[in-house]
């Protein structure tokens, strides 16, 4: 009882000086909407934030021993993982948490997409979230090189190389990124500065803005479901649940870090130190970038050297930029959600985008290639076929769930993604030709539904 009184006295002491009671009051009144969606979807942002916090703590710990430099980058990481007590744990947690952060970030972003939480007035929350996603990718890319091992060296050489396709400033940008024409230890210095200073400052700033937006506007209510406005108090009810979930996340993180210290053993999700980088050694085949870059890496491979009088990589980069920009502008493009109406087209747009990326990732993993002779490359057709079958299976499962559980009726984009994979993998058309046909089919179908929606909207007066 006396402790409780001491608590209260401390609170009063702080409150008198800094006036925190309005803040507490605000938190008490903040509510998480209940009833429309499973509560799970509201934990994802917090999960991402938790993993980011783990990244800061474990990153600062790594910084205690890590020394960037020609003769120290690799050696110091080696020293951390072999000699420093619990150094293996710190590095393993840092790597696992990095990947899990991106996983939860992607799921968070997708759930926002599906639930249309980006609609007004929350467009800027979506946009800051999208920027944070890009910063997270930057974290992954810059952190990957720091151990200065063979795998990181070649992945970075390939990854930075695509920058030169940027029109006009490409070569300059490449040199700025690499600190010279090639990936050298100078690149490590630059990536180090980026990874531990520039990106963290930007990220913390943006997270603050992102959170202020959420606190000012509250969490997005479900779209036009007209359920009774029920809510759960954010503080302490929801916050304690958040805490509980974080503790479970930390436990999972520890288990993974100990049992799989170098990752799950999938190309693009592994961080065994291996050999020190040797810029003079020839690259070996099978070098893959981190999993979240795999789709771009594969897309680059699908483009011929020249297309429409431009260089293939340039066209590819333009396509990727177009897709990313579209994604960023979804809150403004989605007219129905803006009117607080159900927007099945954009739900399907999200699913279609995921299928599109999944197919590219499957291909990048050379699934179904079988054993490839040393130094050889798998036959692209032999890879495309099983990948198309897998994608088809995934799409059927997802569609079945969408029809049965969510009563979705709009499948143009996901259908186009499946058509693309089928035309390419099963019919045998080139990837780009299949893509063009699928895109044209999607455009036609969209035009048709819009037209029909207009005519049928008159008598029915409501659409969906």
């Amino acid at each position: 009882m006396s402790t409780a009184r001491a608590d209260k006295r401390l609170y009063r002491w702080i409150d008198e000086r800094y006036g925190v009671s309005p803040l507490i009051e605000f938190l008490r009144h903040k509510e998480v909407p209940l009833g429309a969606h499973p509560l799970f979807w509201y934990f994802l942002g917090g999960t991402t934030l938790f993993f980011f916090a783990v990244q800061i703590v474990s990153g600062v710990l790594l910084l205690v021993y890590y020394q960037p430099g020609e003769n120290t980058s690799y050696e110091s990481i080696r020293y951390i993982t072999t000699k420093v007590p619990f150094g293996w744990l710190v590095r393993s947690v840092h790597c696992w948490s990095a990947h899990l952060m991106i996983v939860s970030l992607v799921v968070h972003m997708l759930s926002t997409m599906m639930l249309k939480a980006y609609r007004p007035p929350r467009e800027l929350t979506w946009l800051t979230g999208f920027l944070l996603f890009n910063l997270a990718l930057g974290f992954g890319f810059s952190g990957y090189l720091l151990p200065w091992n063979e795998l990181a060296f070649f992945a970075t050489a390939v990854g930075t190389d695509s920058v030169k396709s940027v029109p006009v400033v490409g070569n300059w940008l490449l040199q700025v990124m690499r600190g010279g024409p090639d990936v050298t230890i100078n690149t490590v210095y630059r990536f180090f500065a980026l990874h531990i200073c520039i990106l963290p400052i930007l990220t913390v700033g943006l997270i603050t803005v992102h959170l202020i937006f959420i606190q000012r506007q509250g969490m997005a209510p479900p779209i036009a479901k007209h359920v009774a406005p029920r809510g759960m108090r954010f503080f302490p009810n929801f916050a304690l649940r958040d805490l509980l979930w974080w503790i479970l996340c930390l436990a999972a993180l520890l288990v993974l870090a100990l049992l799989l210290p170098y990752g799950p053993g999938i190309p693009g999700v592994e961080w065994e130190l291996g050999q020190k980088a040797d810029p003079l050694a020839p690259a070996y085949p099978g070098i893959k970038p981190e999993w979240y870059f795999l789709w771009i890496y594969q897309l680059l491979k699908e483009f011929p050297p020249h297309l429409f009088g431009l260089e293939g990589p340039q066209v590819c980069l333009a396509v990727v930029s177009l897709l990313m920009t579209t994604w960023a502008l979804v809150p403004w493009l989605d007219r129905k959600a803006r009117r607080d109406e159900p927007s099945p087209a954009f739900t399907d747009f999200g699913v279609g985008a995921m299928l599109f990326i999944t197919f590219l990732m499957l291909k990048a993993w050379d699934i179904g290639a079988g054993a490839v002779a040393d130094g050889g490359f798998p036959d692209p057709a032999a890879v495309a076929r099983p990948c198309a079958w897998i994608l088809l299976a995934v799409a059927v499962a997802v569609t079945a769930v969408r029809i049965a559980v969510y009563r979705d009726r709009w499948f143009v984009f996901s259908g186009a993604a499946v058509l693309h994979a089928v035309l390419h993998g099963l019919v045998g058309l080139p990837y780009l030709a299949a893509g063009a046909i699928a895109a044209a089919a999607a455009a036609l179908a969209t035009g048709f539904t819009v037209a029909r929606g207009r005519t049928s909207a008159m008598p029915a007066g409501g659409g969906h």
Binding site: V64, Y79, K83, V84, P85, F86, L89
Partner: protein, 150 residues
Amino acid sequence: MSHHASPARLSRRSVLNVLLSVGVLGWLASVLYPVIRYLTPLPLVGPGGPVQLTRSEVTKIERDKFAIVPVGRRRVLVLEDSEGELRALDAKCTHEGCTVKYMPRDSLIVCACHNGRFDLQGRVVAGPPPKPLATYAVQRDEEGVIKVTV
């Protein structure tokens, strides 16, 4: 805190509070223990050495004029030349990877496998080795402690 709670409820709540406190303390300990161990510096200096030779290795150098010393993942030949200067070279022959030895009488480093010969700077003097041996830094302080840096 709550004045309406029955005594049974109250005791259940205090059990819960104890449980919670134990959980928080245990959790804190299991997070802080590794961090504290991690931050406590090791007696040996940072990555890449220097590595201090053991007493038996030092005696071996006094007796045979050389010793093969493991430094990290490498094997290093530490030798004392005719002038009493210490030298450290990679002990792995660049030909087939046999361990070399120092011949004090000829001032040569010899690989017994295929008769490869190196001078004390590691340069190939004779035989099949394609590359010279790498050299490393080695120091001896006043008390006779020898340290190798790779």
